[in-house]
């Protein structure tokens, strides 16, 4: 049984079809990348999966349960964690309290007290390396620290599936490599499935995911092994454009050193 299953999910905003009949299956413990250019519907798909808004058509199953119409706050305790593209810390609370909030209302919600949650928080803060900033107000962290804090907060929820929205945007290559290593490690240690969404940093995708789904204009373009997907001509076309006759002609013109308008 797949952990997450989408069946022909469609989400419209007025006349705009943001997500167009997307089907997807994710197994427990899998690492999958969702790739697509700006505006291809990745974030909307995330929002449908974790219940920010319901889809117009199609069904969402999590752990064998139909969650299509379940409100967002009931999905987190089932094991759906999420980080945001632009980090959304609870600014006035300390880093420790932020992460503790994750533990308090995640899958352990009924089992842990406030004190337990703070202890769980300490563990995940150490895991992401924010120990020195533990008692700082979350709003005062740097953007990268905020991202790490969000990851710790999502992990403290003890999710079965973690949705990561552009976890590596704005990072330099070294940070990206570190992050990829880190995600692979926590995937094994915590035994969670991770869906990582990436707009254009192929370095991140190639190193991270075993499987990639490429989206374009709301629809699923391809769902295949990472290498296969990233070299597929349709994917190249989505990112780099179609080699038109005119551009071919222009490149020939260029080679021959002729004037453009000829």
């Amino acid at each position: 049984m797949p952990l997450l299953k989408l069946e022909n999910v469609t989400k419209r905003f007025g006349g705009l079809v943001a997500v167009d009949k997307v089907s997807l299956e994710i197994q427990a413990g899998e690492l999958i990348g969702i790739v697509g250019p700006n505006g291809s519907g990745k974030t909307t798909l995330f929002n449908v999966i974790n219940g920010v808004y319901p889809p117009e058509e199609g069904k969402v199953f999590f752990d064998g349960k139909n969650i299509t119409r379940l409100p967002a706050y009931k999905r987190a305790p089932l094991g759906l964690g999420r980080t945001f593209q632009i980090p959304r810390p609870f600014g006035s609370a300390s880093v420790r309290e932020n992460v503790a909030i994750g533990a308090m209302f995640g899958t352990l919600a009924d089992k842990v007290s406030v004190d337990d949650s703070l202890e769980i928080a300490d563990r995940y803060i150490e895991l992401v390396g924010l120990e020195p900033h533990k008692d700082k107000e979350a709003g005062t962290l740097t953007p990268v620290e905020k991202k790490m804090m969000e990851i710790a907060r999502a992990l403290a929820m003890r999710p079965k599936l973690l949705l990561m929205d552009e976890a590596m945007a704005g990072m330099n290559p070294k940070d990206i490599d570190d992050m990829v290593k880190f995600l692979k490690r926590i995937k094994d240690e915590e035994n969670i499935a991770i869906v990582s969404m990436v707009e254009h940093i192929m370095r991140a995708v190639a190193g991270l995911a075993e499987r990639v789904m490429v989206m374009n204009q709301g629809a699923k373009l391809i769902d295949a092994k990472t290498e296969e997907a990233l070299t597929d001509p349709r994917v190249v076309e989505v990112y780099l454009g179609h080699p038109t006759d005119k551009s071919k002609w222009r490149s020939e013109v260029w080679k021959e050193g002729k004037d453009w308008d000829e």
Binding site: Y73, R75, P89, G91, S92, A93, M104, F105, G106
Partner: protein, 333 residues
């Protein structure tokens, strides 16, 4: 165990302040009236702050709860004072009615207005308050615009001596109790999951939902608590103490504004803030009314503006920053 108790240390300065106020009022002749006024502002600030301080929602219609509390007590005394065997039970019925009316209105308001945010929420609450007032006046229920006068009923049920004690001491004393109860509940919420959930709501409500927080539930808990405490203050300080109620006197937004001033002066979302704010506001209002009757608002408005500009986090906000890293830190919240 020690850990659990030390979490509640910030209650010590609050309770100490209330105790000192009570002792001054009780043992110094002529001070009781002023102390009662201070307790009234502290209790209202503390109750209002439970909802506003924790959720960030500004409830401009808060006076609705105080008014309904007054009406509850008035109805209890008016209709049940004929059963003399009830004795002090008449007041218990009055308080129960006050809490019942307030919770009814709180749940209704939570259902309608808590779906809104920011200014829309504030306006909806004002609308409900005004609507209720004109409904009572227009539909002529509970005496309509003429209100209810039940001082006579009170006299009949308890006799002159007891009524005198009830209105001049016990009504004010119960305001102290409500203020302390409000402080305790506020502290307890701050230290429990409710407090963490509401911090998340205050900072980013949509992210809070995604984190698994049932935002409506926690907002309603805080709203209801805040409203019920306000109703308690209304029932005692207005209903029992004055012996009459007119809709034009109780459904007045002015009192909500006073709550806001008290809380902002002291420090929104803090435990000690409403106490300090209530003391500053109550004392200066009392003092200005003595030395310059009629001009108090004219003088008070610029003072409030200056304090709010100079110390946006309130007096307790400043104090907290001063005491950060010292031994005293754990006593201030």
């Amino acid at each position: 165990m020690k850990n659990t108790i030390s979490k509640y240390y910030p209650l010590i300065p609050v309770f100490a302040a209330y105790l000192i106020m009570f002792i001054i009022g009780f043992f110094m002749p002529g001070m009781w009236q002023m102390v009662a006024l201070l307790a009234f502002y502290c209790a209202l600030g503390q109750s209002w702050n439970i909802f506003m301080g924790m959720t960030g929602y500004v409830d401009f219609g808060y006076v609705t709860f105080i008014a309904l509390g007054t009406y509850g007590m008035s109805l209890g005394i008016s209709y049940f004072s004929q059963f003399e065997w009830l004795g002090i039970g008449i007041l218990v019925i009055g308080l129960i009615l006050a809490l019942f009316l307030a919770s009814l209105s709180a749940l209704l308001e939570a259902f309608i207005a808590l779906r809104l945010r920011g200014a829309y929420f504030a306006i909806a609450c004002i609308g409900i308050n005004e609507g209720l007032r004109y409904f009572i006046e227009g539909a002529k229920i509970w005496g309509g615009s003429e209100g209810m006068i039940f001082f006579g009923a009170l006299m009949q049920a308890f006799g002159k001596e007891t009524v005198n004690q009830l209105t001049t001491f016990w009504a004010d004393f119960s305001v102290f109790i409500i203020a302390a109860l409000a402080a305790f509940l506020n502290m307890h919420y701050m230290r429990s999951k409710i407090g963490y959930a509401l911090t998340a709501v205050r900072e980013d409500e949509d992210a809070a939902k995604v984190m698994g927080i049932n935002t409506t539930k926690y907002k309603t808990i805080a709203f209801l608590t805040s409203g019920l405490l306000g109703a308690g203050v209304g029932a005692m300080a207005w209903g029992l103490k004055l012996g009459h109620v007119y809709p034009g006197d109780v459904f007045v937004i002015h009192y909500t504004v006073e709550c806001i001033v008290v809380v902002l002066l002291g420090g929104a979302g803090t435990l000690l803030g409403p106490v300090i704010g209530g003391l500053i506001y109550g004392l200066s209002k009392y003092w200005l009314a003595v030395i310059m009757p009629g001009f108090q608002l004219l003088i008070f408005a610029p003072i409030i503006i200056i304090i709010i500009v100079a110390a946006p986090e309130g007096v307790v906000g400043l104090l907290k920053r001063r005491l950060k890293g010292t031994q005293l830190e754990m006593f201030i919240e």
